[in-house]
């Protein structure tokens, strides 16, 4: 059975996420700090604000752990703020610095109503027009790693992919069967498949 690590950033309950991964037939392990166990996949959950989540990640030694996992091509899924932390900074907490693996800043977007709450269709060559659940006031506007966009007031990046890492601005654990399949793909597809996919779609 595949074992999936869920990083507990202590920014909200993990019941839904844990259950969603469990329903896929994976065993989950929730950790507040790294240990020596081997995992088949890693999830950075989507709760809390940028600054709080970043300080939790940094103070508990996760940056080096995540870098090593990425270099070993272990599948990783970052959800909402759990994706945003891989960028450089965020309007939500301007004093906080992100992991800065990728170029770009999380911005307060020009949404008609804030926060954006609800189901929205994607514009994506990977996921077509799949409908998923968004809850956010901030997002990455554009990224060269983008594999999906959506539009609410303006177009923004709904998902990214780089090597074994998938990042989603929406909440797949709240997005019904579609979301469940996205979690499964993110945590099982090998890095080489993903790189090939990224090349095909030319992003």
């Amino acid at each position: 059975m595949k074992r999936i690590l869920i990083i507990d950033t202590q920014a909200g309950n993990l019941f839904s996420l844990n259950a969603a991964i469990g329903r896929l037939g994976f065993e989950t392990c929730i950790l507040q700090q790294p240990n020596d166990e081997k995992f088949d996949g890693i999830v950075i959950p989507g709760q809390g604000r940028f600054g709080t989540v970043m300080s939790s990640i940094k103070s508990r030694g996760w940056p080096d752990y995540l870098k090593a996992a990425f270099e070993q091509s272990i599948p990783m899924l970052g959800i909402c703020v759990g994706m945003q932390v891989f960028f450089e900074a965020s309007d939500e907490d301007p004093d906080a610095t992100g992991l800065s693996w990728f170029k770009g800043k999380v911005e307060a977007l020009d949404f008609p109503k804030k926060p954006m709450v609800g189901w929205a269709s994607l514009i994506s060559k990977v996921w077509n027009e799949s409908i998923v659940y968004f809850v956010n006031s901030y997002a990455i506007r554009e990224s060269e790693l983008s594999i999906a966009q959506t539009v609410y007031g303006e177009k923004f990046c709904a998902a990214i992919q780089s090597g074994s890492l998938t990042g989603v601005q929406f909440h797949p654990e709240k997005s019904g069967e579609v979301g469940s399949q996205m979690i499964k793909a993110a945590l099982t597809e090998t890095a080489s498949t993903k790189i090939a996919l990224t090349k095909i779609i030319g992003k």
Binding site: G12, S16, A19, A120, Y152, K174
Partner: protein, 256 residues
């Protein structure tokens, strides 16, 4: 796809009344073994295509609190769509307990009116997306009156300024129940929904009066971001899927 067209879709929210761990105000689903089981019923609505669920009066009294919290965790472990809990949340600790137990959002009504700072506090601690402020309004002689305590107590407070205030305090959504429509089957109050939806910068969930699929189309065409109903689905007269099909047939995009 047209880049300027918003991808955010209208939502259908189904409301379940829960007391002491059981669904009350009976439902009429023949396929369910136990129609009083909130988890089983919730999953049936998820299968029908409900976009979200609201569980009301789940927490009305302190004695029943442990049962209610266990139920919320049980629901979170089974549902893969968002859900809100409300009714009887009297202080920030109550709100925290239900969010920590697995609820995605809390609905605040009487408590928000009596202690409006709880909106700010919840939004600060958990984010605006967790805060649904439920507002009960009754249209009386050309005036819109604000009620609390489940619609039993009139409050001397301007209704329209209250809708503005909850948004500025950090509510993520407004659940707007038109008491003068509730139980009439004459449809949502589309004029009021439109007015609030256009003047207040948060999502508006219309509630009260729905009896058929046309009522949803009317509400969504008048600015409702979401529509909430209970009776017409619980009675088995309509499935959520049937209403959504009607909306699609009439040119709306919804999640199926």
């Amino acid at each position: 796809m047209n880049n300027t067209k918003n991808c955010l879709l209208p939502r259908i929210v189904v409301c379940l009344d829960v007391d002491n761990g059981r669904v009350v105000k009976g439902t009429n689903f023949k396929q369910l073994r136990d129609m009083g089981d909130p988890v089983e019923l919730a999953m049936a609505y998820e299968q029908q295509g409900a976009d979200e669920l609201v569980f009301l009066d789940i927490s009305a009294s302190n004695e029943k609190r442990p049962t209610a919290l266990k139920l919320v965790t049980d629901i979170a472990n089974h549902l893969s769509i968002p859900f809100t809990v409300g009714g009887g949340l009297k202080k920030l600790d109550d709100v925290k307990a239900f969010l920590d137990a697995g609820a995605d959002k809390v609905a605040l009504n009487t408590t928000a009116v009596l202690q409006p700072e709880i909106i700010d506090q919840t939004a600060k601690a958990y984010g605006s997306q967790c805060v649904v402020v439920a507002i009960d309004v009754n249209e009386e002689k050309d005036a819109h009156r604000l009620y609390i305590n489940g619609g039993r107590k009139l409050i001397d407070r301007d209704f329209f300024s209250w809708t503005d205030e909850v948004a500025s305090r950090g509510a993520g959504e407004i659940l707007l129940t038109a008491m003068h429509k509730d139980g009439t089957g004459s449809g949502f109050d589309t004029a009021l929904t439109k007015r609030i939806s256009e003047s207040v910068p948060v999502q508006v969930i219309a509630s009260g009066g729905a009896k058929n699929e046309q009522h949803y189309l009317d509400a969504f065409n008048n600015g409702a971001d979401a529509c909430l109903a209970a009776g017409m689905f619980h009675s088995g007269d309509y499935t959520v899927g049937q209403v959504k099909q009607y909306l699609i047939d009439n040119g709306l995009s919804v999640r199926i």
